[in-house]
Subunit: 257 residues, 2 copies
């Protein structure tokens, strides 16, 4: 069934032409984005943050299960706590705004059902329905104490000898990687969006995760939820970028086969 | 020492003003990016792929340790193998080009040394040097069989009761999350760059990882290297986007505190 929806080439079900874009503006966005660690006092307009989060929500993500959450911490006491949890670093302390991006390994159960409902309402092809009905739970359900994952590992291992076999996620550790990957795609949208809108950002991974999660209060706690990044936002200060961008030689990272 | 480089606000060491960008073009890039699963026969010009990879290399990444690799599979026999390893899905089969993006948990040892050399050459502040000298190995070295990670876990757990304590990565599983996060940031740059340049993409996670890695040949094998995504690129076909973009209600993912 999976083969069907993946391999079959459908007729035109929906038309969405590839619009033209001024690529130079995109190039400027990428090249002028730097991790900014000191910001001016100026506040970022609320609509700029709102838009950056809207852009995050449009990132591609695994099977469209949207395993992410974005928490914009505006309230002063909570922001103070969060800055502390971010080790009081300048990039957090001087920021106008802080967004906590969370990776979620469990909310796919709900979004899967929602996907099924939307697809049914829109008379989606059978293959798409059975993808969400059968393949998604098979792929993402690791079972109590990862028992299903263990069985999957054995089956995959054996099947893999003779057949092309999709292998991940097959453990809770894989589910973490899975959720963080989609969340990180969204993080990049936030940072580029801020830059395109005239502001700057710093992605932070140096934080006390237990305390960051505590800052979010009791209503946002969820099993299998982890902090992917805390992103600070603000107006770049003159001393905000610490040095020229350093990249090691391209050939260490790029290969052409 | 970590506190120093993170919390201290330095004088102007380097100036890089925040240039202005036409935000509308960025917004169009984000909104017109869709996962394209059927492409026209037209080849993507080589310079477009080159540029997308250049844009990937400029993504923010953890401690600038660049835990990634981009393999552009052009050779026909290897591309055929790779399409098979991607379950023969239409998004791979009809693509002009395929890029394998790898997450690397071990190359930080080399990039850390390179960072130290560059910083020394540029008379970087002491705090930056000691960050790479002391903090980076402490954070990323998990030791044989993760023994150092285990000790770290205990120390972090105890210290965390009374002090704000950075907690990750403290296991090999955390290192995987760590590397995939940075690699995913770069993936998003690739996809947006292709869109901005008039082409399209599809991020694929449905593949046989063992076979994808095998396609890369013996020279690119490396301990601790995993496939983050395979990204296909091409000219969007009329039937390339299967349906309107589906996003669940914003309030499931966005909170304001």
């Amino acid at each position: 069934m999976k083969d069907d929806i993946l391999t079959k080439i459908p007729d035109v079900l929906h038309e969405e032409p590839a619009i033209e874009i001024n690529e130079e503006e995109f190039d400027k966005t990428i090249r002028s984005r730097r991790s900014v660690r000191v910001y001016e006092k100026e506040k970022v307009p609320e609509k700029v943050i709102e838009k950056a989060i809207d852009h995050a929500l449009l990132a591609p993500n695994s099977s469209n299960l949207q395993p992410w959450r974005f928490v914009w911490v505006k309230s002063e006491p909570q922001k103070k706590q969060l800055i502390k949890a971010c080790l009081n670093q300048a990039a957090a302390r001087t920021a106008s705004d802080l967004i906590v991006v969370l990776a979620r390994t469990e909310n796919w159960r709900k979004t899967r059902e929602q996907m099924l409902n939307v697809l049914k309402e829109n008379n989606a092809p059978k293959g798409a329905l059975s993808y969400y009905e059968t393949i998604v739970p098979l792929a993402y359900n690791q079972g109590f104490l990862g028992v299903i994952g263990l069985i999957k590992r054995l089956v995959i291992f054996l099947r893999g000898f003779t057949k092309v076999t999709p292998r991940a996620p097959k453990s809770h550790a894989d589910m973490r990687v899975w959720a963080h990957k989609s969340a990180a795609l969204a993080c990049e949208n936030i940072m580029l969006s801020l830059r395109a809108q005239g502001y700057d950002s710093c992605p932070m991974e140096g934080f006390d995760e237990v305390r960051v999660l505590k800052c979010l209060g009791p209503n946002l706690q969820e099993k299998g939820q982890e902090v992917c990044m805390v992103i600070s936002a603000g107006k770049r200060a003159k001393n905000g970028v610490y040095g020229p961008q350093i990249r090691m030689p391209r050939e260490q990272f790029v290969s052409i086969l």
